[in-house]
Symmetry: C2
Subunit: 108 residues, 2 copies
């Protein structure tokens, strides 16, 4: 980060999708991305999932308080429950502080 830039946070969500199709997965994932974007302090999101169903989604946030608020959002909690029981066979979440960065923005 340049000196003029404030530190920010990244939430790394790594997940393995279950092999079966789940009708509401795509809709819910899109809705959660949309809802995240509406949160104050949301800075951006990158996502990639490979052909074997392994995916990484990283969302960027202004501070940790906002990340906690987002985790406890009612609609998001409902999605988290279905994530655990239906959509992912395993997942891990890491909350990180971005210390420095370089390169141009890589986005689709």
């Amino acid at each position: 980060l340049s000196k003029s830039q404030e530190a920010y946070f990244a939430v790394i969500f790594s997940s393995q999708r279950t092999p079966h199709e789940e009708s509401q997965y795509e809709e819910t994932a899109s809705r959660m991305a949309e809802l995240a974007k509406e949160q104050t302090g949301f800075l951006g999101m990158d996502s990639a999932r490979d052909s074997e169903g392994f995916g990484i989604t990283i969302s960027y946030w202004k501070d940790e308080e906002i990340i906690k608020n987002w985790k406890s959002n009612g609609e998001h909690i409902f999605a988290q429950k279905r994530s655990r029981s239906e959509w992912y066979s395993s997942f891990k979440i890491r909350i990180c502080k971005v210390e420095r960065e370089y390169g141009s923005e890589a986005s689709k």
Copy 2:
């Protein structure tokens, strides 16, 4: 992180591949993953690239010094140069401190 666990670092590498096939890209990417694993203080790696060529690779490291050493590794520098000129149309690297984590390990 649990209290017994030491903090560690994540290097988030987001990239957009160029559309054309590059014969040595896959070999070099595999070789770099192999070489990273040989570095003292390397903790793990997750990677996903979607069908549009957008990918995220995250490597985990014990401390920032080790990340700097890896960046200046001779063979890695050679790969970095080709990355910039041939393999990626854009990329961004973020060096992060992992503050906390939960969930089971999601890996292929």
